[in-house]
């Protein structure tokens, strides 16, 4: 289309030059002819003999510019629309995940049945471990509790619910969990259940666990992946913190997530 704007003029320009072109000698003549052609396309067209047919140079430039701007605008609009649709799809996927995935049905340390929906509207810091754990679980729980306490002390921040889920359902009964959690924080909630229920929640949160060999006392250590999980008030997995992160780093991260949070469930 641009050619249509430019071509007639170019054609018109070139036609009177054709006979002299036949007489060109290479070098000087050709340069001279080209200079004349270009100078004719300049804004000062007033003194010329042949009248231009069609719009002037400035007008052509303006039309091309407007056309280009129009194309650019259409492209930007299409891009924005694609982005908006992508965001919508993502929100919808998150909504489905919030409702459908990671659900569990466990007993808390008071014997009450709990499922994921019970925690909707709260930020949750979750840790998987077992009560017979030699050192790692107590350390990690202490760290988790420290984070909760630091955030509790800040006015204006929503309370964080600490949760401890056992990977040793055989030994960690409701009573055992009650004895264990009292040592850490009054709001620390212990969750246990049957072997299948624990297997299901561990699968949902991608937690590895494997009970080791039993000794003469029937005691054993459960090997398990070590991480503190952060769940948003929508129940979506938001972040995780390894053993290497300090309580301060975790608290800062939780604060950042809280500030950035936008619910997908209403």
């Amino acid at each position: 289309m641009l050619l249509l704007i430019w071509a007639p003029k170019v054609w018109h320009r070139l036609s009177p030059l054709k006979p002299p072109a036949l007489l060109w000698t290479p070098g000087g003549e050709a340069v001279h002819v080209r200079y004349r052609l270009l100078s004719r396309q300049g804004p000062g067209e007033r003194g010329r003999q042949t009248q231009p047919q069609g719009p002037g140079f400035r007008t052509r430039l303006l039309i091309t510019g407007l056309f280009g701007a129009g194309l650019g605008g259409a492209w930007l609009a299409a891009r924005a629309e694609k982005e908006r649709r992508r965001q919508q799809q993502r929100t919808e996927a998150l909504r489905q995940a919030a409702v459908g995935q990671g659900d569990f049905s466990l007993l808390d340390h008071r014997g009450q049945a709990r499922c994921k929906a019970d925690f909707r509207g709260q930020w949750v810091l979750m840790y998987f471990g077992f009560t017979h754990c030699p050192d790692i679980c107590p350390d990690e729980l202490e760290k988790l509790v420290q984070v909760v306490q630091e955030l509790e002390a800040e006015p204006g921040l929503p309370p964080v619910q600490p949760v401890f889920i056992t990977v040793d359902p055989e030994r960690d009964t409701v009573a055992a969990m009650a004895r264990y959690v009292q040592d850490f924080h009054p709001r620390l909630l212990g969750l246990t259940g049957s072997a299948e229920q624990v297997a299901q929640v561990s699968r949902s949160y991608r937690v590895y666990y494997s009970a080791g060999p039993k000794d003469e006392d029937q005691d054993y250590i459960v090997d398990h992946s070590i991480a503190i999980y952060l769940l948003s008030p929508d129940g979506l997995f938001t972040d995780y913190y390894s053993r290497a992160r300090s309580a301060q780093q975790i608290a800062d991260s939780v604060r950042r997530h809280m500030a950035a949070f936008r619910s997908v469930l209403h």
Binding site: T131, H132, D215, D219
Partner: protein, 79 residues
Amino acid sequence: MAAPSMKERQACWGARDEYWKCLDENTEDASQCKKLRSSFESSCPQQWIKYFDKRRDYLKFKEKFEAGQFQPSKTTAKS
């Protein structure tokens, strides 16, 4: 068998730390630390003792490794 309470855990860790301090002072010579060893063994469940022993081995190995005592072999000759 019930899990150790917080107090029992802390007693166990204290005994372990004493025993390990003795080992540090005697360059891993366990014969010099027999009393602390038996105190450690009575404060902690057996599984934990095995676990802490393995942990000690690992921490010592890690120290040596980080100090560069294990170097890759210079030649590619089969060892």
